[in-house]
Assembly symmetry: C2
Homo-oligomer: 592 residues x 2
């Protein structure tokens, strides 16, 4: 069983050496957030994640997860205590606005800790992560009265929050939901309906749970334009409010978290935002929520990478192809086998490359909010919008692949429970599904973000990447730079092709979307590796004492360009293939 | 919860219309095995798999699997009864030689039923599958006395068999195993040691269990040349023989099967084959065992495909991009979404393409055994040797991807237990690990099968494929034929490059192996699709009444060439990248 070790060195590398967040944040008037502050937060976060959360990960899984008895859900041993400490230490309100009692840490700094929380105990972290989203929605759209009544205790973590969207017949298609909201004389509403897949819908870690529930007003128009958002507390002034957990799901993974069927039986609630404007409110926090799921993918990839490395240097089996390396032992550590290194370097190249991509997106949120000039803010917002579906989908699909690689590196030891890696593999898959399936992310990217801006957002991103290519790169990076240059041209051309086709036939957009997203992901991570390689090269040339760290970066960069990036071409081919090749089919044509 | 439906139509398509097995088998003197006989066996097998086994699959999983109490392992409810019926119906000895009491069915026919057994209840099927391997090893290498004493009841299924190879410190590297065999005066041996990951090492389905155990003689040379094979029964004349199950593993999947830690404490056993010739005996059954694991992958892919199709036509969510299709319903079935069809066509293209590849390999085993002229037999043996590691690795890696796609098609419903697809996803991963990890398969392919024959086996395979390209193909297949032609040239060139490099540095071989194997897999499945498309096209032109079935084949073939085959190029790039890009690394270079 591996315990988690926060990758503080790599996070500092990304934040300080590559993204230079101190400088970027200072330009946005956040001189208060300097490198020392960020590092001390990283240290504190690492301590909590490593010592308190990491053991809860497998304990919560092995224990079998939360239990429902008489309507009450008890969490696995240790979960409550860890959550108390999380709140006491002030983590719950870390990113929230100081105006509502938060500490107002920039996103990019808080989220570095967020990665640690996801990696060390994803199932446990979902509870506070969802609460942060609820705080965001409420602080943007809740009335002053609602905020006064609920927000304070949510920011401290005393009360947690949920998102209640899905119903048995209504998941991706929210427009057909049936939960009803009946207006009352006092301005409140009575909410009635059944919601499913509600993470942390009921539990014993907090005194109260504030549900944000999508429902329909009596006169609502049909479809997604007729959905409203309501705040529905579990307890009202300490008394039950017609909200109950009917059952818990048995799931592939995230066993430590309760996934609830929630019944609302005339529960009292209050409107958040405008009538029929529920989806707009949800969109407010969508960037955060989706990046947050990408962050879960990143966390699991990191934890899986650590496990693979540990096993590969400890497990003795076989001999190095060029001859025994450790003759005094019965066998060499399996890291001597090129195929094991291939698996681990794949994990490292994707995990560390995606970390930069993900943190870059979060930094852009800070820029979007704080940059002094509007042009910079708009540009950041445009890039955030473009990157969010990519980070969500690309990092979670790769979390599945990375955790599968960790299982494979371990062989039989990865398939049995003891090492813990099979749990990462089980936990990872949900991130491809919730908060909008990865297929939905692809449609959002290509439809709304790319074609919806007539390709402008892609152009902005390409310009950003091209700027690096025009900068002073080491001579031996020329093949990588050239390759990336070619991909940028391909990206522009592919976008044009798909746009032209989609203008004539909406099936074309949907047929290209997922491959288009993955193509973007590989190009972006290539850019990230070129950035990191440049920093590493300079550090080595400057005589850094951390040679191993920077050498590893250069090896991973090369590996990425040689052995991972070729996949971009396969996705480009898929995106270019067109809708005619995936026609609507009768069931008899598919079955055999 | 989906129950399994045996894909009899597709299996008949592959056996009769594409492979023309009746003709091939007749050429080998097996006129007894005609189309009617095969079809009636398929019908019987389907009935057993669908009605008896399919429900056991999830029941065995949900039940939590076998339990160990007082040294005895009890299997999940229904497992014993199903096994009894399996034996009573004569399935246990179906493929075994009539000389030892079997029914001598050709491999390709029996294995069509084998796919059904794997698909309907993989965990349960492992028991009889392992027994078949033990029968094969014993019938080839056991003394007449051992055969007389054990083989009869193993062929009937009264007694089951196991393979005991792995030890805690010795998995892939069998040379360092420690289990000892002490010679006794009566010619038998006393076996002492601990074996782990022993599937069906102890259970209550049969009266006795015959373990085939690898162990070392006192004077054995070190390494793999010092390993001998022993037959060690659980009971000797009804009395315990010092063999016991110490514990059961908690695993990611195949929960229905007991994975045992087995202790041998001076257990009486008998040598099988030559002293220190244990590995040679294992090699005898390796082709069967590895193809059998590929077959497990195929079975899971098929079952996952069926689930995806069923869900996609039943689940209503959203509207078709070109406008609502079923206006009278609240939403359209999700098959209207091109991205859902992309996922399902990926599953279909790989599952059905791989079925032909797998059955082709089994047919070659029949040809290898029965063809009248030696040239044909040798050629078949050469191709079998080449195909075995590809079928094992490529079909199991794709079973993971196919089952993951099924989870994704289902969204949240795929992540919770109720639909059963998350079980396929968990079950699939083990097939990439056991019977030689997929990394080992790649080394076997490139080292032993390709470079070990100086590229001759690849040349033979390329010739076989080129023959199809020279044949009378429909005009509109020209782009596919041209693409395949180009890949054949690339294959020859890639083989040459890797061979030249590997001759100078063994690291080169290991660095290229996995990508090389996957490249081969995609090329072979392209060939399979071209063969199937040709048959389908002709059937449609001949006015077949099964239009939907054949049209579906043409759609899947096009999809494969347009959207799956591009991955071959990424693997070619990986195989060509060379060893310099994955150098031996210090742990500090990988960690962050």
């Amino acid at each position: 069983m591996y315990e988690y070790r926060a990758p503080r060195r790599d996070i500092r590398f990304v934040l300080h050496e590559v993204l230079e967040v101190e400088k970027v944040l200072a330009a946005g008037g956040r001189e208060d957030v300097n490198r020392e502050l960020i590092d001390s937060i990283l240290d504190e976060g690492a301590r909590f994640a490593e010592n308190v959360l990491s053991p809860l990960n497998w304990q919560g899984d092995w224990h079998g997860g939360p239990r429902l008895e008489n309507g009450r859900v008890s969490t696995p041993p240790g979960f409550r205590e860890a959550y108390r400490q999380f709140c006491t230490d002030g983590w719950a309100g870390m990113a929230a606005d100081p105006a509502i009692g938060g500490q107002g840490l920039p996103d990019v700094a808080y989220i570095a800790v967020g990665e640690m929380l996801c990696a060390s105990a994803m199932a446990w972290r979902m509870c506070s992560g969802l609460s942060e989203g609820a705080v965001l929605a409420l602080s943007r759209h809740g009335s002053a009265e609602l905020q006064a009544r609920f927000l304070g205790r949510m920011v401290t973590g005393e009360w947690t929050g949920t998102m209640c969207l899905t119903e048995p017949h209504s998941g991706t298609d929210l427009g057909i939901m049936r939960t009803k909201a009946e207006p009352q004389a006092d301005g409140s509403f009575r909410i009635t309906g059944t919601k499913i897949y509600i993470s942390w819908g009921e539990h014993d870690m907090a005194d109260n749970i504030v549900h944000l529930v999508l429902a329909k007003l009596p006169d609502a128009p049909s479809g997604t334009r007729g959905i409203s958002l309501f705040l529905v507390p579990k307890l009202l002034d300490g008394r039950p409010n017609g909200v109950s957990c009917a059952s818990l799901e048995h799931k592939l993974g995230i066993h430590g978290s309760p996934t609830c069927v929630m019944n609302f039986e005339g529960a009292q609630g209050w409107l958040v935002g405008q009538p029929n404007g529920g989806l707009a409110c949800m969109f407010t926090m969508m960037n955060h929520a989706r990046l947050g799921v990408g962050l879960q993918g990143l966390g699991l990839s990191e934890r899986a990478l650590q496990a693979s490395i540990a096993f590969a240097y400890e497990r003795l089996q076989g001999r190095a192809p060029r001859g025994a390396l450790e003759r005094d032992k019965m066998a060499d550590p399996i890291i001597v086998h090129p195929d094991v290194r291939r698996m681990i370097l794949t994990q490292k190249a994707m995990t560390e490359g995606q970390r930069l991509l993900c943190f870059y997106a979060y930094l852009l949120i800070d820029v979007e909010q704080h940059a002094p000039d509007e042009g910079t803010r708009k540009r950041a917002a445009e890039l955030v919008a473009l990157l969010v579906p990519i980070v969500k989908s690309f990092l979670t699909d790769w979390a599945v692949e990375n955790t599968a690689l960790a299982v494979q590196v371990h062989g039989g030891a990865g398939y049995v429970r003891d090492t813990g890696v099979e749990q990462y593999y089980r936990d990872a898959k949900i991130a491809c599904i919730y908060e909008g399936t990865n297929g939905i992310q692809a449609l959002d990217l290509l439809g709304r973000k790319v074609l919806g801006t007539a390709g402008q957002s892609v152009k902005t991103m390409i310009d950003e990447i091209a700027a690096l290519l025009k900068s002073d790169l080491p001579a031996d990076f020329a093949p990588w730079a050239q390759r990336l240059q070619g991909l940028l041209a391909q990206w522009a051309e592919l976008t044009k092709t798909v746009a032209e086709r989609s203008a004539k036939d909406p099936e074309e957009l949907a047929a290209a979307a997922t491959d288009y997203l993955n193509f973007c992901g590989y190009v972006l991570v290539a850019w990230c590796w070129l950035r990191m390689a440049r920093v590493a090269k300079r550090a080595l040339e400057a005589g850094s004492g951390e040679r191993a760290f920077y050498e590893g970066k250069l090896v991973a960069a090369r590996f990425y360009f040689e052995r991972v990036l070729p996949r971009a071409d396969a996705h480009a081919a898929g995106a270019r293939a067109g809708a005619a090749g995936i026609p609507m089919l009768q069931r008899e044509q598919l079955e055999a």
